[in-house]
C-alpha cells in the first residue's frame, strides 16, 4: 500500500502532500521535514531509494525522483516493488506534463486541485488503480469538461438570479 505522496521543491517547500492514512497536521509537517532532510543530503547519481524506517516506522520504503526543481516522493510498504514505484512516479510526472504542457513547479502550485485529481485517478485509498497516463488523462479531461459545464450551468443562473433580485 502507498502510505504517502509528497512533492516538494529543492528548497524544502511542500508543493503537494497526500497521506493515505490520517495523520495530524503537525505529524505531517514533521515527516515532510524529515524527508526533506534526508533528500537534500543525498548526492547525485545515487539510487532513488531510501530506507525510510527511521522516519515512517517499520516496513516503510521511500522512493524519490528529482525533476528540475521538484522532488517527487512516494512512501509505501513491502507490498510494492521499488522499481515499479519509480515508474509510477514517472507515470505521474508524465501525466502532469501532458496535462500542463511542459509542467513546471508553478503549474503544480497553481493547479493544486487538478494535481490532486490526477493523483486520485492513479492512487485510490493507498492502492494503485491506474498506471496508464493516457487513461488518467482521459478521466481528468472528462472531469474538467463536466466541471466546466456544471460551473457554467450553476454559476450563470445563480449570478443572473442574483442580478435580477438586486
Amino acid at each position: 500500500m502507498i502510505k504517502a505522496v509528497m512533492v516538494m521543491n529543492t528548497q524544502g517547500k511542500t508543493r503537494l502532500a497526500k497521506f493515505y492514512e490520517y495523520l495530524p497536521v503537525e505529524k505531517q509537517q514533521e515527516l515532510l521535514r524529515g524527508v526533506f532532510a534526508v533528500l537534500c543530503s543525498r548526492a547525485e547519481n545515487v539510487s532513488n531509494f531510501i530506507d525510510a524506517e527511521s522516519i515512517f516506522g517499520p516496513d516503510s520504503r521511500l522512493v524519490y525522483k528529482h525533476f528540475a526543481t521538484l522532488y517527487f516522493v512516494f512512501v509505501f510498504d513491502s507490498s510494492e516493488n521499488e522499481l515499479a514505484v519509480l515508474d509510477l512516479i514517472q507515470v505521474f510526472v508524465e501525466t502532469l506534463d501532458r496535462c500542463f504542457k511542459n509542467v513546471c513547479e508553478l503549474d503544480v502550485v497553481f493547479n493544486y486541485s487538478k494535481v490532486h485529481t490526477i493523483l486520485d485517478e492513479m492512487i485510490f485509498g493507498g492502492q494503485v488503480v491506474e498506471t496508464s497516463s493516457s487513461e488518467i488523462m482521459k478521466a481528468v479531461e472528462e472531469i474538467s469538461k463536466l466541471e466546466a459545464a456544471s460551473n457554467a450551468i450553476t454559476l450563470i443562473p445563480k449570478s443572473a438570479s442574483g442580478w435580477r433580485s438586486r
Partner: protein, 974 residues
C-alpha cells in the same frame, strides 16, 4: 489559466502562492500565512458568498494546512460544499474534507448522508468523488451506512466506478474485517471482470487477503497463473502496455501473489514454473519497468519451491543487476541476492567483488542494503571482517535509528560467531563504547551472562582467561571519559564478580576504580547501584578468602553518602555493604559465594521448612490452614455486603458473575476473618487462578515478601542448567547477593520473571534457525560448532528455569484439584449459553447465602413469609420484587420447576432433569432459595452479618456443596 477549464484560480491566490514562494525565511512565510488566515476567517463567514469564491477560499485553506497551519475554522465550510449540486464545487468540497478530516472527526456525521446520496447519483463522477471520500472518511461505525451502496456499485457499468468500489470495499476490510467478511467473495468475482483494469485493481485486495490466509486461496493458483500467462503473451490490448511491456504493474502484482501462494507448496509451485520461465525469457531488460518485473520474478522464484533452472535464470539476472552502473539496479541486485542465498548460497561467491564495491559506494542506501546482505552471509570465517566493517560504519553515522539496528546486529553476530574470547570482548567493548546508550539493555545482560558462563566449553581455564581479559580491558577503558551507562553497568558487574578473581589486581585497585565510577557518574543511580554492589562483592570475597579488609577512605565516604541517599535502593545497598563488612568469613561465604552468579537457587515454594513451626502453632490451638477451594464458600459470605450495591444491575448480568472470584484470592490471608472491607478486584482470567492456587506462595505476608525477594534474587537471567549441586538453598540473603545484576532491574515477581523468559525464547530460536541456515549454506566449518553451543545453552537455561517454576505448581494444582469439591459436571454447564462457560467459577453471593442459610438453619430468616414462599407459585413472589430483575426471575422459574414439576410452561423448566439431579448434592435447595428470596425481599441486610458470624465456625462443607449447586442453578438460569 483560462485554458485549464474549471480549475479556476483567482489573482489573490496567485499572489499568496507567489509571496510565500518568495518568502526568504520561515518566519516571513509564517507571517504571510497568518495574515492570510485572518483574511480567510473574516471572509469565509460573510453571508452570501458566491460559490466560486467559496471554492477558492477552501482551496486556499487546503493550501494553508499543507504548509502546516491550522485551518480547522474552515472545515465546516468544506463540509457544506460537499452538499452542493455543482460538480465542481462538490468535488472541491470532497477534496478538502478528505484532506482535512479523519474518520473519527466530529463533522463526519454531517457528510455520511451526502455520501449516501452521492453514491446513488447517476453522474459517475459524483459517485467517484463520493467513493474517494468513503475510502478516507468512513470508519467502522459508519461502514454499514454506505456498505449496501458500495456493494451495488461493484456492478456499475463504468469500469472506473467498479474499480473504485472494489478499493472502497478493500478499505473497509482493512478497517474492520468483520464488517465485510461476508462480502469477500466479491473480490474473487471481480477477478473475472471483463475489464482488465478492474481485474488488476482486484489484485490489490486479494494480495492482502492472501497474505493473511494463504490456504483459502490455493484454488486460485491456476487462475492467477493463466492470467499471468495471458498478460505475458500480450493478450491484453495495447492500451495496457507501458514502455513496450504488457501491463507490467499487473504482472508484478501477480508475481507477488504467486510468491505467497507457492511458498512451501511444491504442487502449486510446479504450476508456476513454466510461466516464470517464460517471463525470464521474454522480459525486456532495457527498461526500468522490465527490471522491476525481473526483480519480482526473482523474489517469486526464491519464495516458491525451488526449481534449479529458474534459480539459474534468477542468478543470471542478479549478476546483470550487480554489474549494472545504475545504483537502483545494484540495490535491487543486492536485495535479490540476499533472497537467493537462502536457497543457493554458492551464488554469493561469484559476486564477492560486486558486493564489496557496493559496500564502498558513497550511496548510503546501497551501503545499508549491503550490510543487510553481509549480515545474512556472515559465518565464523568472515565474522571479524564483517563486524569490523559494521562497527566502522556504525561509528561514522549519526542516524540513531540505524545505529541501534546495526549495533544490535554486531552484537548478535559477535555472540554467534566470535572466533576468540579476546575478540569477542574487544568487539563488545567497541559496540558499547560507541553505541552503548542505544543498545538494548538485554545485550548488556547477555554479555554479562557470557562472561559468567564462559563460551560453553567445560573448560574452566578458558573461562577464567576470558574473565581476566575482560577485567583487564575494562580497567583500561574506565580511564576514558563519558562512557555510556549500560557499558558502565557491565563493567561494574564484571569487576565486582571477577575483579580480584585471578589475583592480578588487588581489592584496593578494584574498589578504588569502582569508587571512581560511582563518583564520576554520580547522577546515574543505576550505575551507582551496580558500583556499590560490586564493592560489596569485592569486599565479601576478600573477607571470605580470609584477608583483612581495609576499606578505602573514598569508599567509606561513598558508603556514608549513600546511607543517607534519597534512593531507597541505593540506601539499602549501602546498608548491606556495611553489614557484610562486619560479618565473619564463614557467614560472608554463605551469603556471597564467589563466582556463583550462574548457580540456580532452589526455592522451596511449599515452605516446608516452616512445617515445624506450623505444627507447633496448631498444637497451641491455632486454626489449621484451609485450602482456598474449601474456603471460597465461606469467604464470599463476607463479601456479601459489598455485592449488595450491584443488585440493581442484575438485569444485565454480564460482568457481575466475574466479580466474586478474585475476592477469594485477595482474601486468602484473612482466611478466617469475617471482615467485609476488602473490595473485590476484578480479574477476569480464570485459568490464571488455577495456576495461582498453590496457596503457600501467597500465604503469610512476611513469608511471601521473603519469597518474592528470593525469586527475584534467583539469577535466572544468567542461570545455566545446574549440573552442580546447589550451593545455597533457602537463605534469602545469599540469593540477594548472588544476583547483583538482576537486582538492579528492580523487583521482579515470579510472573514477570517467567515473562522475561518467554520473551527471550523467540530470540533464541531465531539464532537457532540462523545457525542451521548458515550450516547448510556454508557447509559446517569447524568453528560453527561454537554457535549451537551458545544457543543451546541459552535455550536450555531458560527452559530449565521455566520448567522449574512450573513443576511445583502444576503438581500442587493437581493436589488442590483433588481436595477441592468436584466441579459441576460439564453437562450441566452445557445447559447455559455456551458463552457462559467462562463464568463457571464465579459465584453469586446470593447463591452462597442461600446455601449457608440453609445449612445453618437460620431461624430468623424463616419468619412469617416462609409460608407464602413455600407455595408452588414462587414466581408470583418474585414478580413483586423489582430489583431482582430478569435473572432472578429465571431462578424462580427453575425453583418452581424444582418444587413443582408440573409447572412446565416456564422457560427454565427445560433444565429440570439436570437440576433435580444436581439438587441431590445439597441439602434441600428449595428451602434455601426460598429463604434467600425472603431475605432479599425483606432487605434483611442487618441480619446477614450475624449469619456470617454464625456460619463461619462450622458448616463449611455443607455451605460449599450448596454453593456449588447454586452455581449450577445460576448457570441454568442465565
Amino acid at each position: 489559466m483560462g485554458s485549464q477549464g474549471g480549475f479556476y484560480q483567482s489573482k489573490e491566490f496567485l499572489d499568496l502562492v507567489k509571496s510565500i514562494g518568495e518568502a526568504r525565511s520561515k518566519a516571513e512565510e509564517d507571517r504571510i500565512v497568518l495574515h492570510e488566515i485572518d483574511t480567510l476567517k473574516r471572509r469565509i463567514s460573510e453571508p452570501d458568498i458566491p460559490k466560486r469564491k467559496m471554492k477558492e477560499y477552501i482551496i486556499r485553506l487546503v493550501y494553508i494546512e499543507m504548509l502546516g497551519h491550522d485551518a480547522s475554522f474552515g472545515y465546516i465550510h468544506a463540509v457544506k460544499m460537499t452538499h452542493d449540486d455543482s460538480l465542481l464545487v462538490k468535488r472541491t468540497g470532497y477534496l478538502a474534507v478528505t484532506l482535512f478530516l479523519n474518520e473519527d472527526h466530529d463533522l463526519i456525521i454531517l457528510i455520511v448522508n451526502t455520501i449516501q446520496k452521492d453514491l446513488k447519483s447517476d453522474n459517475y463522477l459524483v459517485v467517484c468523488a463520493a467513493l474517494n471520500a468513503v475510502c478516507k472518511l468512513i470508519n467502522e461505525e459508519t461502514i454499514p451506512a454506505v456498505l449496501p451502496q458500495v456493494v451495488e456499485l461493484l456492478a456499475h457499468p463504468k469500469e472506473a466506478v467498479r474499480k473504485k468500489a472494489i478499493m472502497a470495499l478493500h478499505r473497509f476490510y482493512q478497517k474492520s474485517p468483520s464488517s465485510v467478511s461476508h462480502l469477500i467473495s466479491n473480490f474473487r468475482k471481480r477477478l473475472c471482470d471483463n475489464d482488465p483494469g478492474v481485474m488488476g485493481a482486484t489484485l490489490c485486495p486479494l494480495f492482502d487477503l492472501i497474505t493473511l490466509d494463504v490456504n483459502s486461496y490455493k484454488d486460485l493458483v491456476n487462475s492467477f497463473v493463466s492470467i499471468l500467462k495471458q498478460v505475458a503473451e500480450r493478450r491484453l490490448s495495447k492500451a495496457y502496455d507501458y514502455h513496450q511491456m504488457p501491463a507490467p504493474f499487473i504482472q508484478i502484482k501477480l508475481l507477488k501473489i504467486l510468491a505467497l501462494l507457492g511458498s512451501g507448496d511444491k504442487q502449486a509451485s510446479e504450476n508456476m514454473y513454466t510461466v516464470l520461465g517464460d517471463i525470464f525469457r521474454k522480459c525486456d531488460s532495457s527498461s526500468n519497468i522490465g527490471n522491476a518485473v525481473f526483480y519480482e520474478c526473482i523474489c517469486c522464484v526464491s519464495s516458491i519451491y525451488p526449481n534449479p533452472r529458474l534459480l539459474d535464470s534468477a542468478a543470471d539476472v542478479i549478476s546483470r543487476f550487480l554489474k549494472s552502473d545504475s545504483h537502483n539496479l545494484k540495490y535491487m541486485g543486492i536485495d535479490a541476492l540476499g533472497r537467493l542465498i537462502k536457497i543457493s548460497p554458492e551464488i554469493a561467491e561469484q559476486h564477492q567483488l560486486a558486493v564489496i564495491d557496493c559496500l564502498e559506494d558513497p550511496d548510503d542506501t546501497l551501503k545499508r542494503k549491503t550490510f543487510e546482505l553481509l549480515y545474512k552471509m556472515t559465518k565464523s570465517t568472515n565474522v571479524d571482517v564483517i563486524v569490523d566493517r559494521m562497527i566502522d560504519y556504525m561509528i561514522s553515522i549519526n542516524d540513531n535509528h540505524y545505529k541501534t539496528e546495526i549495533a544490535s546486529r554486531c552484537v548478535e553476530l559477535a555472540e554467534q560467531f566470535a572466533p576468540s574470547n579476546q575478540w569477542f570482548i574487544q568487539t563488545m567493548n567497541k559496540v558499547f563504547e560507541h553505541a552503548g546508550d542505544l543498545v538494548n539493555i538485554k545485550v548488556a545482560h547477555n554479555l554479562m551472562r557470557l562472561i559468567a558462563e564462559g563460551f560453553g566449553e567445560d573448560d574452566d581455564n578458558a573461562d577464567s582467561k576470558l574473565r581476566s581479559s575482560a577485567v583487564e580491558s575494562y580497567l583500561r577503558i574506565l580511564g576514558e571519559p563519558n562512557l555510556p551507562s549500560v557499558f558502565l553497568q557491565v563493567i561494574c558487574w564484571v569487576l565486582g564478580e571477577y575483579g580480584t578473581a585471578d589475583g592480578m589486581f588487588s581489592a584496593s585497585d578494584i574498589t578504588g576504580k569502582l569508587c571512581d565510577v560511582a563518583e564520576a557518574y554520580s547522577s546515574d543511580e543505576t550505575v551507582k547501584a551496580y558500583a556499590v554492589t560490586a564493592l560489596m562483592k569485592t569486599y565479601a570475597f576478600e573477607i571470605a578468602a580470609g584477608r583483612k579488609v581495609d576499606m578505602l577512605p573514598e569508599c567509606q565516604s561513598l558508603m556514608e553518602e549513600l546511607l543517607a541517599s534519597h534512593s531507597t535502593d541505593l540506601q539499602q545497598r549501602a546498608y548491606e555493604l556495611q553489614a557484610v563488612i562486619g560479618l565473619d568469613a564463614h557467614a560472608v561465604e554463605g551469603i556471597m559465594p564467589s563466582d556463583a552468579s550462574c548457580e540456580d537457587i532452589e526455592v522451596d515454594k511449599g515452605l516446608s521448612f516452616l512445617n515445624g513451626y506450623i505444627q507447633e502453632a496448631i498444637e497451641k490451638g491455632a486454626q489449621p490452614y484451609i485450602s482456598e477451594n474449601e474456603r471460597s464458600g465461606v469467604l464470599n459470605m463476607g463479601n456479601f455486603r459489598n455485592q449488595d450495591h450491584h443488585e440493581p444491575s442484575h438485569g444485565l448480568r454480564f460482568e457481575a458473575y466475574e466479580l466474586p472470584k478474585p475476592v477469594v484470592q485477595s482474601r486468602i490471608p484473612q482466611a478466617l476473618l469475617p471482615s467485609t472491607e476488602i473490595v473485590p478486584v476484578p480479574e477476569p482470567m480464570y485459568p490464571r487462578e488455577t495456576y495461582q492456587t498453590p496457596v503457600p506462595s501467597n500465604s503469610s505476608s512476611a513469608g511471601s515478601a521473603e519469597l518474592k525477594l528470593r525469586l527475584d534474587g534467583v539469577q535466572k537471567k544468567w542461570g545455566r542448567p545446574t549440573y552442580t549441586p546447589e550451593t545455597s538453598t533457602s537463605s534469602s540473603t545469599s540469593q540477594k547477593t548472588v544476583n547483583g545484576a538482576a537486582q538492579v532491574e528492580g523487583a521482579t515477581t515470579l510472573n514477570s520473571t517467567r515473562e522475561t523468559y518467554a520473551s527471550r525464547k523467540p530470540q533464541v530460536e531465531i539464532s537457532h534457525e540462523k545457525q542451521k541456515l548458515a550450516a547448510s549454506l556454508f557447509g559446517g566449518s569447524s568453528k560453527l560448532e561454537k554457535r549451537p553451543a551458545t544457543g543451546h545453552k541459552v535455550s536450555k537455561a531458560s527452559s530449565h528455569v521455566v520448567e522449574k517454576s512450573h513443576v511445583p505448581k502444576s503438581s500442587k494444582e493437581v493436589a488442590s484439584e483433588k481436595t477441592a469439591p468436584a466441579q459441576p459436571p460439564p453437562d450441566l454447564l452445557d445447559l447455559g449459553e455456551p458463552t457462559d462457560t467462562s463464568t463457571v467459577p464465579s459465584l453469586d453471593p446470593f447463591r452462597q447465602l442461600e446455601g449457608l442459610l440453609d445449612t445453618t438453619q437460620v431461624a430468623s430468616a424463616a419468619n412469617g413469609a416462609t409460608a407464602a414462599s413455600r407455595s408452588p407459585d414462587v414466581t408470583a413472589l418474585y414478580a413483586d420484587t423489582p430489583p431482582v430483575g430478569i435473572h432472578n426471575m429465571g431462578d424462580a422459574d427453575l425453583l418452581s420447576g424444582l418444587s413443582n414439576p408440573s409447572v412446565t410452561n416456564m422457560p427454565g423448566a427445560t433444565a429440570k432433569p439436570q437440576l433435580t439431579q444436581s439438587s441431590g448434592k445439597g441439602p434441600n435447595p428449595k428451602d434455601s432459595l426460598e429463604k434467600d428470596a425472603l431475605v432479599r425481599q425483606m432487605d434483611m441486610c442487618g441480619q446477614r452479618d450475624c449469619h456470617i458470624n454464625m456460619i463461619q465456625p462450622y458448616g463449611i462443607g455443607g455451605g460449599l456443596k450448596i454453593q456449588e449447586r447454586a452455581e449450577t442453578l445460576v448457570l441454568c438460569s442465565i
